[in-house]
Amino acid sequence: MVSLLRNQKVRNTLLQVVYVGSLAALVLAGIIIARRNLAEQGITSGFDFLYKSTGWDVNFSLLPATANDPYWWFFLIGIINTLFLGCTGLILATLVGTIVGLARTSANELAQLLGRTYVDIFRNIPLILQVFFWYALITHLPTPRAAHEAWGLLLTSRGLYVPAPNVGGVAMALATSAVIAAIALPVWLGRTSRLSQPFGQRATIQLAGAAAALACAAIILVVGRLPDAPLLDFPALQGLNLRGGLRVPPEFSALAIAIAIYGGSYIAEIVRGGFKSVGKGQMEAARSLGLSPWRVFTLVRLPLALRAMLPILANQYVWLMKATTMGIAVGFTDFFMIVALTINHSGQTLEVIGILMGGFLAINLSLAAVFNRINKAIALKGNQLRG
């Protein structure tokens, strides 16, 4: 017996069995207790409630929604709202972060100071405070009658009014996919022509691809416009309110701005780290070959910095995606707020929390999977020597 316990393999297996066994027991106990408590309170568990109509409304939705729609439809709306807010926030945060990060790595001392101040301030104020700040600011903008106008945009306390295209739904979807293609095409062309085309021509091909896709989008928009209407519908004052155009509600703007500015301060540090990690040697070699500063940056420094940034950036994106749950603080109907409302109205707490966890897991695991693919695809081959 003693000799068996001293056997490494036996001992490791035994530890595993004990560990998995107690975990299973714990989960089982949880389920039994939950079922007994639910039965005592007369709550029937299950997912039947998903098909009942909610009886309440959402204040922001990209899909048609009424109080008669079932819960599952509202969950879908919530997920799409979360994705929409998340993607907008991530794109803006990346823009802000890139600019601030570059400022911090620049040789200009004023730019460095501004960048550092920015990061110090916005990274150290809790996100929820920043959300409240922007929300208060936006809701204290002038009323629609006294709104500021610039380039057809109207800033009011009821939200930001932007001109909207008078275009049919199908054409809009097609044009959106064409714009996405305009971003994806250059990346794909760059990869496929990597070994067959020289650097200068490769950039031309990529630009041509992007331009063609954008032209397609423009043509689709013009062709698909609604009959007897101008291409763009400008918001205009009618009575006490604004008509026409598209209203971006203050809740959404406040969250998007807060995520952009807060997330931007973290991303700025990632960008700075990425550029710092590029060996001085590679840039010296590029300069000694006579390459111009711009080409040293775009062909050597940026591609190498991006490879260093991407894994940490993915982490940050997942984090910011979860930050959209701040929606509940200002009343934006994101996934989390819909879940909270559903718990109140239906009482199916455990099931709904399960759906919430499943939804965020799906979003963030997909995000991580995409980034892992990119990381793998552009990983440097072989062993790297730090110069």
Partner: protein, 254 residues
Amino acid sequence: MISSNSTKAGGPAVRIENLDKYYGTFHALRKVNLSVERGERIVICGPSGSGKSTMIRCINRLEQHNGGRITVLGTELNDDIGNIDGIRREVGMVFQHFNLFPHMTVLENCMIAPTLVRNQPRAEAEATARRYLEKVRIPEQAMKFPGQLSGGQQQRVAIARALCMQPQIMLFDEPTSALDPEMISEVLDVMVTLASDGMTMICVTHEMGFARRVADRVIFMDGGEIVEQAPPEEFFTASQNERTRQFLSQVLGH
């Protein structure tokens, strides 16, 4: 442009006059004077911190000098960007840590500068690149990435990359210091071939065997100054200077 002017002008490949270089308050180069003729092979040695690397890095403006004049192939190296670019086109450099671009294939490493800086058509640039990869004896590695090669192979790619610009002068900054002993000879062999082709070479190295074989002149630097310069046989056997002899005994002593 520079090449056509300077080949007519005929003067020395590199002329350094009263060169001063400071890092903050540290005086790295003290009024250095050096003239390198076309086709001449110079080996520079000296203890670390003596200013050898700084001096050759001034020749292609990786370091900016604080005083004196540097004239490369008849063009003075000053703040004129056109002059700097022109000189960099004609001066190739090989670094201690190879500094290849790890995200490009060996072939791309060799083609990037000729296609973008010299505007060579792709086919021509590729033919040149393959010819030089042949010359440094690794034609079969063209489609690999730098990280997949050994140190010696990487350094030979770095030499080929510099040669693809068809420079008139080659600078070597301790090209074998980061290599395992068995890889040093494969890099030195390539450098010897290059020397026998008549390339103007300025090499910072402690490979005294190489200096003896190919150098026209060996230069010893210490404390930011050129202490002694002489043809190799004289330098190694009949050095007049105490510091040189001490350095030599340390380098050759074992």
